[in-house]
């Protein structure tokens, strides 16, 4: 049975938003409902957002009313720098229990549960194996509050799986995530002029690219794979290797003994080193990712490639800063776009169409220029010779498809901003006639 009606918890977290975006693209999913206590941070097309925390009675009503068959829980806080210990516990343990309570029970419609967990479940210590497999336990009980919370949350999910054998439960343990869009405490560490490391230690690190995280969640959801899976890219790098690939230098400023004190001093200077990170900086961690690969999942990036991608982004970031305006959720606008009978094309769908056109344009132009609907080679005769002011009056005579094709054409050729703006304006008017 495939998933059709999906509830995404933590929609406003980076992962919730990215996953909803990925699910929107898949045809067989009828309904996507996202819940969170905060406004969504990504522009979504057909996902319904409901502002609700983790109160299980409310969630239960949503699940029942929408006949949700699949719940994806992406809320887990895995970085103890982003929230206080109290809030983290509230979110990771109490929140998880509430969501599980809302999904369980004999009359529940939920048949699948996907839980996003973290490799912090395994911790990081000297008695670790070089590669953790899914069946392994951490060698020592967790010491930091965050790790305790994650172990407790996983225990609650396992409990749920035992009590609800008809629900297929997947749990994904992610390695440290890297990616251009995501700010983590490791990313913050790598952005320092010199990366502080512990003197005499060169820990093994394994990362996973943010796109692979979303792809793995979607893969598990589509393929219906119950069980625990590690998600970590191929390749375990030494920290010095990582820093080298990023084009940075390292500074062994953290002493091997009394590291906690030195970290506290660094905190004064604005460098946040979480207790989990200190452990990782000392002992590192490697995961065995073969179980997920055996189910047919293909990673797009190795750890090395993810690090290189981040390095490129970090070099570009100061130049690109402020180029894209961040998305802001406006309830009225979103309501209008979803419900109003006057809406013909959703802005995101249009953007996607344009994006495809940009990518496809050169090939389409080269092979069969005549077959494309509005004559992609030159949507208007002699178009490429026209000046910007001459184009504007012509736009009103075109149909929306023509405009879209024209926009793709313009972007692939001269990409004059004033022309693109004019086309967008015409498109917003509903296209010509």
């Amino acid at each position: 049975m495939g998933s059709k009606r999906v509830l995404v918890t933590g929609l406003s977290s980076y992962w919730g938003g990215r996953l909803a975006e990925a699910l929107e693209a898949s045809e067989e999913i009828e309904t996507i409902i996202g819940v969170d206590s905060q406004d969504p941070t990504r522009e979504l097309e057909r996902t319904e957002f409901v502002r609700v925390g983790t109160q299980h009675s409310l969630l239960r009503r949503i699940v029942e009313a929408a006949e949700i068959d699949t719940v994806v829980d992406t809320r887990l806080i895995v970085d103890s720098v982003v929230a206080s210990a109290g809030r983290t516990h509230e979110n990771n343990v109490i929140g998880t229990m509430n969501i599980l309570a809302a999904c369980g029970g004999p009359d529940s419609s939920v048949r699948r549960l996907v839980f996003k967990s973290s490799a912090h479940y395994y911790g990081s210590s000297q008695d670790d194996p070089a590669f953790f497999t899914e069946d392994m336990e951490r060698p020592h009980p967790p010491r930091t509050p965050l790790e305790k919370d994650i172990v407790e949350a996983e225990a609650a999910v396992v409990d749920f799986a035992e009590k609800n054998p008809e629900v297929s439960v997947s749990m994904l343990r992610f390695a440290n995530v890297l990616g251009p869009d995501l700010l983590t405490s490791h990313r913050a560490l790598f952005e320092l002029p010199a990366v502080p490391i512990i003197l005499g230690f060169d820990p093994r690190y394994q990362f996973v690219h943010e796109d692979d995280v979303v792809a793995a969640l979607a893969h598990v959801l589509h393929a219906d794979l119950p069980g625990v899976f590690n998600v970590a890219a191929d390749g375990v790098l030494a920290l010095t290797e990582v820093i080298d690939l990023l084009g940075k230098r390292f500074a062994p400023v953290l002493p091997p003994w009394g590291t906690g004190l030195a970290a506290a001093a660094l905190r004064r200077l604005g460098v946040e080193l979480s207790p989990e990170m200190l452990e990782q900086l000392r002992f590192g961690r490697g995961l065995d990712n073969r179980r997920l690969k055996a189910t047919g999942f293909v990673y797009r990036c190795t750890t090395r490639e993810a690090v290189i991608a981040l390095g490129e982004h970090m070099r570009l970031a100061p130049i690109m800063r402020g180029a894209a305006e961040p998305y802001r959720y406006e309830r009225e606008v979103e309501e209008f776009l979803r419900r109003s009978p006057h809406v013909r094309t959703h802005p995101r769908r249009r953007e996607r169409a344009n994006g495809d056109a940009t990518v496809l344009a050169p090939a389409a132009l080269a092979e069969e220029p005549d077959t494309s609907p509005a004559g992609a080679a030159a949507p208007v005769a002699g178009y490429d010779d026209l000046e910007a002011e001459e184009i504007a009056p012509l736009l009103d005579s075109l149909e929306p498809e023509g405009l879209t094709a024209l926009r793709g054409h313009e972007r692939s050729r001269r990409a004059r901003p004033e022309v693109l703006r004019a086309i967008d304006k015409a498109l917003a008017r509903g296209g010509g006639g």
């Binding site: 000297q126 008695d127 670790d128 194996p129 070089a130 590669f131 497999t133 899914e134 069946d135 392994m136 336990e137 951490r138 009980p141 967790p142 172990v151 996983e154 225990a155 396992v158 799986a161 035992e162 297929s168 439960v169 997947s170 749990m171 512990i198 003197l199 005499g200 230690f201 060169d202 093994r204 119950p226 069980g227 625990v228 191929d234 390749g235 375990v236 790098l237 030494a238 290797e241 091997p256 000392r282 002992f283 490697g286 065995d288 990712n289 073969r290 179980r291 690969k293 055996a294 190795t302 090395r304």
Partner: protein, 296 residues
């Protein structure tokens, strides 16, 4: 902390996957080992060919050819392909036996096989050591590490079943093997389905003899005991690295194939004793045959 079997509730097969199913699953997983990235200088284990070559060309070369004048017998007993678990006696303060066995395999073996040395995980807590040892091919002696190396990657692994008790014994107890642990190495070899190659090293005991151990440091740090070695105390902490030029003889014995289930403790214990007895007998024979500690 939840007990070990709890996550089994998530898998459809339930707890049964622990015994027979696991090995079948592992067989499949071998195909999914990460590919090699030629641009990288380290392996996934943290091993660095560059550092290894550097150590090999300088220290190991000198010790092997000139200082210890190693003589190797039975190198043909080390298989040319596939995994194998090498099991050796272990002795001396800062034991020189492991690097010499690794060097012997590189120099004398027709395939110049590289060796992974399983060491106590404690090394990971020491600054410097934790950085250096993985670079030259040491891995923590964890059953999962042995399984991955021996079975999945078909590599050679050297282990010292005496563990810490080997280097801790005094000069007067030389060449008398300590207990071979609880036979974890036999269980590892059985799980990975690889042969055990016993290795005997003569000379390491005399190269770095320990005459006594002082308890002062132990009282201070809780773990280390200060060894009294020939050039202690006038060389200070460097004394443990100042090896005496004893003649080394390394003999690889015929591989042992054990037929038993890894969970069969009785059979594992029997096999452990068998391997230990063979190493001990050969050691006595080699020591009896040698004329001089220094000239061999």
């Amino acid at each position: 902390m939840p007990p070990r079997t709890r996550t089994d509730a998530l898998t459809p097969d339930g707890p049964a996957a622990g015994s027979g199913g696991a090995s079948v699953a592992l067989e499949d997983l071998r195909r999914h080992l990460p590919g090699l990235e030629p641009e990288r200088r380290l392996t996934d284990w943290g091993r660095s060919e560059r550092v290894e070559r550097l150590v090999d060309r300088t220290v190991a070369d000198f010790l092997y050819h000139l200082w210890f004048r190693c003589e190797v017998e039975g190198i043909e007993n080390v298989p040319s392909a596939g995994g194998a678990l090498l099991v050796s006696n272990h002795a001396g303060a800062l034991p020189p036996d492991a690097p010499m066995i690794a060097k012997a395999l590189r120099e004398e073996h027709p395939r110049a096989r590289s060796l992974n040395v399983a060491v106590e995980p404690v090394f990971k807590a020491y600054p410097g050591l934790s950085m250096l040892l993985p670079k030259v091919g040491c891995v923590a002696a964890h059953p999962a590490n042995l399984q991955r190396l021996l079975h999945d990657e078909e590599a050679l692994v050297l282990t010292f079943p005496e563990g810490r008790k080997g280097p801790r014994k005094l000069y007067k107890d030389r060449y008398r093997l300590r207990r071979f642990g609880h036979g974890e190495f036999v269980a590892s070899a059985l799980r990975a389905d690889v042969p055990i190659v016993p290795v005997c090293v003569v000379g390491a005991e005399e190269a770095a003899p320990i005459f006594a151990r002082l308890d002062l440091l132990k009282r201070l740090t809780g773990s280390l005991r200060l060894p009294v070695v020939p050039n202690f105390p006038h060389l200070g902490p460097l004394a443990v690295a100042g090896y005496l030029p004893a003649k080394f003889r390394i003999r690889f014995l015929e591989p042992v194939q054990v037929d038993a289930a890894p969970g069969d403790r009785g059979a594992v214990q029997t096999a452990t004793e068998e391997v230990r007895a063979r190493v001990q007998e050969t050691l006595f024979e080699m020591v009896g045959a040698r004329d001089s500690v220094w000239l061999g």
